[in-house]
Symmetry: C2
Subunit: 330 residues, 2 copies
Amino acid sequence: MVTFLSGGTGTPKLLSGAEAVFDRVETTVVGNTGDDVELGGHLVCPDVDTVLYLLGGVLDRETWWGIGDDAATTHEELRTLAEAAGIELGPRYLADERQTAGRDIADWRRFSAVGEFMHIGDRDRAVHLTRTSLLDEGRSLTEATRTLAEAFDLTADLLPMSDDPVATIVHTDEGSMHFQEFWVARGGEPGIESVEFRGGESAAATPEVRDALDDPVVVGPSNPVTSIGPFRELDGVPEALASTPVVAVSPFVEDEVFSGPADDLMVAEGYEPSTAGVAEAYPFADAFVLDSADGTDLDRPVVRTDTEMDDEDDAARVAEAVAEALEVAT
Amino acid sequence: MVTFLSGGTGTPKLLSGAEAVFDRVETTVVGNTGDDVELGGHLVCPDVDTVLYLLGGVLDRETWWGIGDDAATTHEELRTLAEAAGIELGPRYLADERQTAGRDIADWRRFSAVGEFMHIGDRDRAVHLTRTSLLDEGRSLTEATRTLAEAFDLTADLLPMSDDPVATIVHTDEGSMHFQEFWVARGGEPGIESVEFRGGESAAATPEVRDALDDPVVVGPSNPVTSIGPFRELDGVPEALASTPVVAVSPFVEDEVFSGPADDLMVAEGYEPSTAGVAEAYPFADAFVLDSADGTDLDRPVVRTDTEMDDEDDAARVAEAVAEALEVAT
């Protein structure tokens, strides 16, 4: 058994070719939920859903989010209606007093769907609706996620990192905002001052995640701050990671990041935006997989391969290196 | 100025051809909200929306609900996901304690969207999402409805009958159920014992509706029990109807109903299922429009015409008769 900690792009890319090395029935994937939002009353879990769709064989491989060939009729109509009524389209947070009224799991990240600032496809929306209604029927996010995994015929076990709310808030020189506003609505442009995982101090890993962290852990090439950072806030996780073999794949080649906002976020959190910074951020990692061109000298065992992943063959190659590193780490 | 009280089919049909007789800028339509449900967290207002779509020029004229040529990708995916997860598709009420937790306006009629038992189109869904998010942003249902009316470029004023919750519950020999379960999920089959307008005792007509009821009122050929009945529960409405000229169009030709579940509902409520029963149910009506073939002898003035409405010309003919009856009633 092996457990992957996943954000929204790097780790799913690794998972896309990992099957030859890590049998899916022996694989658990735990998704970050700090990026989740409640949009028009529906809980959207971008990182969990990317894995759900990937392993369910329906992921849009162009964007690495959403369902391939999905329509967006409702989303487009939401934009049309708001424009026709003269309403501003930007992210529309619910009022402060509404941010903690309702399902606990969605605290501090509630947006109106008027003019819907995130692109939600029509089939994708059915997933959010089903998840939210399962919560309203009394199930936990873990149970709702497993029901969706069953519907998409997953053989791997897919888990949200917590059934408690954790909201990734980016404090910037243009104000404080949820990660999805920072990334989706503002393209990562505002200057980052600090990152807060709101709720983290009282959030715990679920029993299912605690069990999964008894197995060897793979931290894929996800953003160490906003994708993996939330995990480390959870009660029980730092200790669990410290006591199990952990392999991390660097999302950098020395100081070049493959994609996403990892570099600015790392600087804001006091880390060097590089493989060396990743190693500092991951004191629990027992071994690393680095790119062949990455000469960073680390204090822990390293396996090198070409870590650029454009297709499943690339991912399989990186997965092989991960398996090799796990042998060193164990 | 004239005010129409509307259910979901008969009165919208009349409105479809009423423009030649009643200028839309001089027309207010007040929609029944007893049939509304919260489905997957979204407030669906079937009667108000049929008028919204009709006057906005997008109504599906085959069904008289929903938007013409709308897709239903999300709805179909909701069904697919529930089936794939082995979940029952029927109406899924939220638990009793959840029925009054959340927006007051949706009390006693909250359903999970898992397997979505009502057909919601994709553009249609954007309307429900916008309405619900406007409520979450702090607007009243009246304000949200006016915003949607603006988006659909309505010239008539469209109002929900109340900003308070009223839920039409049908008590049957197969148990108590919301009107939408009775009608949509069970095709009106269960034997009706009584009809309850839950919340009616503490619901009031809005100031906007009270103002509109100062004008002459047209009660279209809607179901007197579940379409018009909820209005009469509202604080202020019976007095207002008693003191303004009211013309009612019978939804019956003697004892034959044009469509819908009016006859069984009337019997259950102690009325004869006929034009005579309608007249008894509408003591506030000052004149009636009856079908030419309807020989019912009423104690109030009557204008007769062919009241079957298959197209806008038919509707215009009935509207002419309504105008004539209003002159007698005033």
